[in-house]
Symmetry: D2
Subunit: 136 residues, 4 copies
């Protein structure tokens, strides 16, 4: 899979002169979307299938700062996929290869009515696609 690239925008910086820490949570979402798209699951296909995967928890470790005009390289991986849970890991590196941020997000699966579903039973095609990438 091709890592996702995010170029830091001026509006993402703060008074300390660096990227505000809350924005990395948004970069995680951007990279996750791109990852699903590369897997063959762009948003419209997901929506048609009626599956959504809300974030139920996340953690983020800030290792070194980034700032305006920096380009982050974000590697996404499927840490674990079970019937009812998905855990995604993110590694963000800066221009010189330094680790900027390491993060994880945990997701459940819901149908279009917002009810919890089991992915393996209710959308096996997506489950298998994620399973094939687990731990890689």
């Amino acid at each position: 899979m091709r890592p996702y690239k995010h170029k830091i925008q001026y509006y993402e910086t703060d008074k300390m002169g660096i990227t505000h820490h809350s924005n990395y949570i948004r970069f995680m979402e951007e990279a996750r979307t791109d990852f699903l798209e590369q897997m063959g699951w762009p948003y419209d296909k997901l929506e048609e299938s009626g599956v959504a995967s809300p974030v139920i928890s996340l953690e983020c470790k800030y290792k070194s700062p980034s700032t305006y005009a920096d380009e982050l390289t974000i590697e996404v991986s499927v840490e674990q996929i079970k019937g009812a849970r998905l855990c995604i890991a993110y590694k963000m590196t800066g221009r010189d290869g330094e680790t900027v941020c390491e993060a994880k997000s945990e997701h459940c699966f819901v149908n279009s009515a917002g009810r919890p579903i089991r992915l393996q039973r209710d959308c096996p095609e997506l489950y298998e696609a994620l399973k094939a990438l687990e731990g890689k």
Copy 2:
């Protein structure tokens, strides 16, 4: 009507050390919501009536900067209300009474299906409430 107060947050500042200009558009929305609430039209009442008023244009003049921990005082007024259009004006002042930002937003009215409506005909109670404040 009581002016709205917004205290600038750290995440609203940028690398220049001041409030990023895009955030004032959000403060306009906050102040507008508060103004409608003070008029007796909190969000849930608006939603029940099925009326939404999307922004169709805006303009914003940045007069002097603000920064973290500053409290802005935002005065909202109904510049003009017609059957199909509403124009709201905003004046934001800082701690020392300096004008920070002057802005306007123009709105149309739509029903819950997103179709344009005429407020005077379709929600006369809200129309009259806005009309009574026009130009004040």
Copy 3:
């Protein structure tokens, strides 16, 4: 200490009709600032003392959603303070007392040049104020 209140704004919601998960990270910052202010350490005093406390990690568990016009009550507590580290905990509850979000942030301390400092030695007054609240 008085809990912090945050009213969800329209611009903080997303397409799913709920508060976008990234915004809770910003509410944590708002509540933390307010907590420090209540402790007698408003931003200008912190800045004069030359101490900043960047976020080095955070975790966030999303328990139930919130949406536009909801008011969150955010309780902040000092989980642990050491010479070089501060851990803050947050509990956000909704109108009906339901837990919306539970979170933690970990901070280091740096001086105005961005160099790591030991709070106990370099700003004992703030250290003692935090220590007195630890675990409460």
Copy 4:
């Protein structure tokens, strides 16, 4: 000049299911940065020259909505450049060529101390580069 592309992110949508209007102000900044880079004035060169160009006013007309996963094409042009003022115009179009947003931003020029400068005198190279694109 190559138009700028922005793909709408989930966190840029709101409860109405569309891109929140405040985000277009940020897309203007992204496109402007990219335009300057294509002109040969990336941010680090601008910073070395000591010139900044804060936004002093903007206007924005919302023509049709966009939503998650849409790709906007943003054309930027130099409407007018004078010694002390720069006016930039933006045209954002959606996938089917529909106009999504038309906007303008007005800028002044300041040096690294925040003092107003005259671009033609104080940074003639950038002035000439902008002048050559004026009205095109």
